[in-house]
Symmetry: C2
Subunit: 576 residues, 2 copies
């Protein structure tokens, strides 16, 4: 199978022509950063999402929720997006084009552009040419541009709203309800698959940098002191190519390592992070990413969010774009719950019973109401209530009552030390977050599955898609569209469809051309009805990749095709 | 089964408590018009969407596409939403609350409020109390409020964007690509399932009036002269309760009628509209709408869009809201394609070969260049080109050349009449559109499936959901969580999960309470592992609705449960 040097143009041409995806609103000239998934692309995308759900929802047992894409401002104040979700921008004084300042600098070989301040970038840009018009930029102002799309909810600017920059925040804000749903126990996981938005300054990389994109995110809430994964054995011996912080400094290569070794050696922070790295590898290979072009790269301490305990990106090698991030797996600690708890004033903790209750010594303050009453009169009750919660010094306690600070001498209350039985504790869980960019995965799968080979002197274009994600599952062709072959083929197509198999019936053109048409969109199997079908009730099944054919009884077709697609039947086992 | 008088509160309480849905961003006080689907609701919603796809995508063979939710302005100029997608609004001068003017009027018994102009409404409101503060409204200004959420795409107000008010427009603007995908033939259908948005002025009806909601729409492109449905036989004898225009005037009741009768009598405009009315009835009943509380109401000519040839709403009877529209089925003629063609300047037609070419007489104009040359010099070519396309009168032809109108006397050209063979024609298809509101369907299914009965002296709350849409498909319970019963039950739960069945394992509390917990969320079957399981390898399966139990071999479980859920196995057939 020949591997084209840069398959990008070929994949994009195929995608547009055959209906995987194309620019949005083309009849109006399109708009950068938005694409439409066509009939085949939408089907493939949905199969990839459903495969993801088979892992996370069905197997891991994490329920999915669905929150709106429009959110109110306080959510994104708490999450930090209102303040910190921005890129450095400048405007070319000549052509008035908006430019991403760090990208312009990086395009001219300035190494650490992403980490530079606005002032540093402005200095660096002064003598550089504008990437749009080519004129020298000169003195430009570099400033932060917030990447959230904003809108107004309701009439009269009643409330500011944002299109969510990630699906995760809906899961965090629903924490109290979700904890109750899981009957107040840890760990539990919740997932969400849906649209998110980034109002990119100048998106130019097709599927890789979209303004509206689909995420699949899982948030796994764990006990801060319990980061051993209960099902770690599933992936303990699973090997993944890991590029740790250390290797990156020396431009090293990723090292294949089992998850047991990765955690044991301290390279990966804990079993949870390692488990979801392995599971991510498992999913990506299942949907058609080439394992030879897949690695997991640890975030450097300089790029990692300050609160994250560890963070790894699944990256694929693209012929056009180099190494591209598809998935991030992070231990976000309690950062998100703490932030929402602060801004909302709602406790986002779980009360967890202790295995064995423990005894603790605690101070209890008993106000002397006989003394407080005459001294504080109407305010006495309020003072007493404040006193109970106070932390008194040796001479007395400062409390706030009626808006004023009052000092209560130690004679006006008693302090008792007590042994109390502690039966449980309020715990703010830590969050492990695997976050998938579905559109990038769709593109990577197409690029990695694209191949060309020579068949009968002509180039055959093939998408070697796994059967689980191929948009059309089986093609059905009458050898010729007469002599009743077309009628039988139509019946067989209906039979397969009724069996839940996505079938495409095609009777036009030479049979070889019909095979090529399906090869090009990745249809894994084709069923052909010929004259022998009328005699003995058998049809041929052709496998896309090997182009081998076997004859099977037509009555066995739905079960056979279903078995081939699910992988329960191997094509070779159908025999010659 | 007892039917509560107004099950709304009960259904909403159950939905919040058990995790079907709840208000969005509750920890920030919520925001009207937005809800979150919790773990069970999101699962049920997805199953309803997938059932919809089983009808439209798999069976009808209509491919699904996926367009962005953010669209550029010209799309919504063409569709008419920028100009006409608005509600009449006023602001209370006392409490400053924004009100929907027609709703305030209607709430005070003014009959035709929806059809009144802004001036008429202002007059009607003058003496009415504000629905928020109760003060008399007095002189208020009534004006149009556009219901689209708007935003900016890119930095510096580069482009105005809107959140789409319906998914349909993405299908219309993709028409040229979709036509090519379907190899330039009619009819073909394309569907889209996704979020749409209406920035409601003052939404107060929970799931019925959301600002962000999910639509499932199909656009079927047909030949304007070919509105006989090729598969009409499927629904020719299918009976649906139809409330035509005529009946509504006399407050009549819907009439049960076959689709054959409905089209034959002229009540429904054509076979396409009738086919999708029947298919809609079929889907709604399949997902759990009570057929006794379902009708199809024809739009009155006053409420129907001017371009629509016919329009029917599927309406369900809700205990709280009365008759509520869930689905609209309309023949939109060529309105949408024509509008986008006008604004974009792109031809949105299909070139269809004629079955047998026909001969047509056509005029051909042949300019006399020898005469035009000297007279028009440099402009002669332009004049000649314009002349070829002109429609000349007896004395000559008016043409526009170089921005001026020029009269060309008939002596300067020849007109030849020719016989030409016409092999095909450019056709602008008509569109049949069934449009489903998924959130309303979710609510209707919950309300219609909610029931209470008395079991052992206690009220049992049950959701009688069809197995196809129940969020959890089977509960697995060890009779007690000891003596190895829990281990065996855990194995069985894993076995079912591995078989693709959504399973909930529960070992806590009395067995009766565990049954109730599953009854309340609509789980159709429960498998119990007891001491006999250890002896003879059998387990009990309990059916939710009848509460009957049968014993089956544990090895047969995945196939049996799968058969029960798909409907291929009847519970009674498992028989004792």
């Amino acid at each position: 199978m020949a591997e084209p040097a840069d398959s990008y143009e070929k994949v994009m041409e195929l995608a547009r022509r055959r209906g995987f995806f194309w620019p949005s609103a083309e009849i109006y000239g399109g708009v950068a950063g938005f694409i439409d998934y066509g009939p085949l692309g939408a089907q493939m995308k949905r199969r990839i999402e459903d495969t993801w759900r088979a892992f996370y929802v069905l197997r891991e047992g994490f329920y999915e929720i669905e929150c709106p894409t429009v959110g109110v401002e306080p959510v994104y104040v708490a999450s930090g997006h209102v303040k910190g979700f921005s890129d450095k921008m400048c405007q070319c004084p000549r052509c008035e084009e908006y430019l991403r300042a760090d990208h312009v600098a990086a395009a001219h070989g300035i190494g650490n552009a992403a980490a530079m301040t606005a002032e540093e970038l402005a200095g660096a840009l002064r003598t550089l040419p504008c990437t749009a018009c080519g004129e020298e930029l000169g003195d430009v102002r570099v400033f932060d541009f917030n990447l959230m799309f904003s809108t107004q909810i309701g009439p009269g600017s009643q409330r500011k709203g944002y299109l969510r920059p990630e699906t995760a925040q809906g899961i965090f804000t629903d924490f109290p309800r979700l904890l109750r749903f899981y009957r107040d126990r840890l760990p539990f996981g919740v997932v969400q698959v849906g649209k998110s938005y980034r109002n990119e300054i100048s998106p130019r990389q097709g599927m890789i940098r979209l303004r509206e994109f689909t995420q699949a995110e899982a948030e796994i809430f764990v006990h801060p002191a319990g980061k051993r994964h209960p099902r770690f054995n599933r992936y303990r011996e699973y090997t993944v190519p890991l590029l740790g912080c250390g290797e990156q400094c020396g431009k090293g290569e990723p090292v294949g390592m089992t998850m047991g070794q990765a955690v044991g050696s301290g390279l990966v922070a804990n079993e949870y992070v390692a488990y979801y790295i392995a599971l991510t590898h498992d999913i990506l290979v299942t949907v058609g990413v080439d394992p030879a072009r897949l690695r997991f790269r640890q975030h450097l301490t300089t790029e990692r969010a300050h609160y994250a305990a560890d963070c790894w990106d699944a990256e694929v090698l693209s012929a056009r774009f180099g190494w591209v991030e598809l998935v991030g797996v992070a231990d976000r600690t309690d950062y998100d719950l703490r932030a929402h708890s602060c801004v909302s004033g709602v406790a986002l903790t779980a009360y967890l019973p202790l295995g064995t209750p423990r005894m603790e010594r605690r101070k209890r303050i008993i106000p002397d109401m006989k003394a407080l009453g005459p001294r504080f009169r109407g305010k006495a009750k309020e003072v007493a209530d404040a006193l109970v919660k106070a932390d008194p010094g040796p001479d007395g306690a400062k409390v706030t009552a009626g808006g004023e600070e009052v000092f209560i001498p130690s004679g006006l209350y008693q302090v008792k030390e007590e042994e109390v039985e502690v039966r449980g504790e309020e715990v703010m869980p830590h969050v492990i977050e695997p976050s998938y960019g579905i559109d990038r995965i769709c593109y990577a799968v197409l690029e990695h599955s694209y191949g060309e080979d020579m068949v009968e002197g002509e180039v055959r274009r093939v998408l070697h898609l796994p059967a689980a994600v191929a948009p059309v599952q089986v093609g059905v062709f009458p050898l010729v569209s007469r002599d009743g072959l077309d009628t039988v083929a139509g019946e067989i197509a209906s039979l397969l469809t009724a069996g839940g198999i996505f079938t495409e019936y095609d009777e036009s053109g030479a049979i070889g051309r019909r095979y090529r048409r399906q090869d090009e969109i990745g249809t894994p199997y084709a069923v052909t009805i010929d004259y022998r079908t009328l005699e003995d009730g058998t049809v041929t099944i052709r496998e896309r990749d090997s182009m081998a054919q076997v004859r099977v009884k037509r009555d066995a077709l739905p079960a056979t095709v279903r078995g081939l697609i699910s992988g329960e039947i191997a094509f070779q086992a159908l025999g010659p």
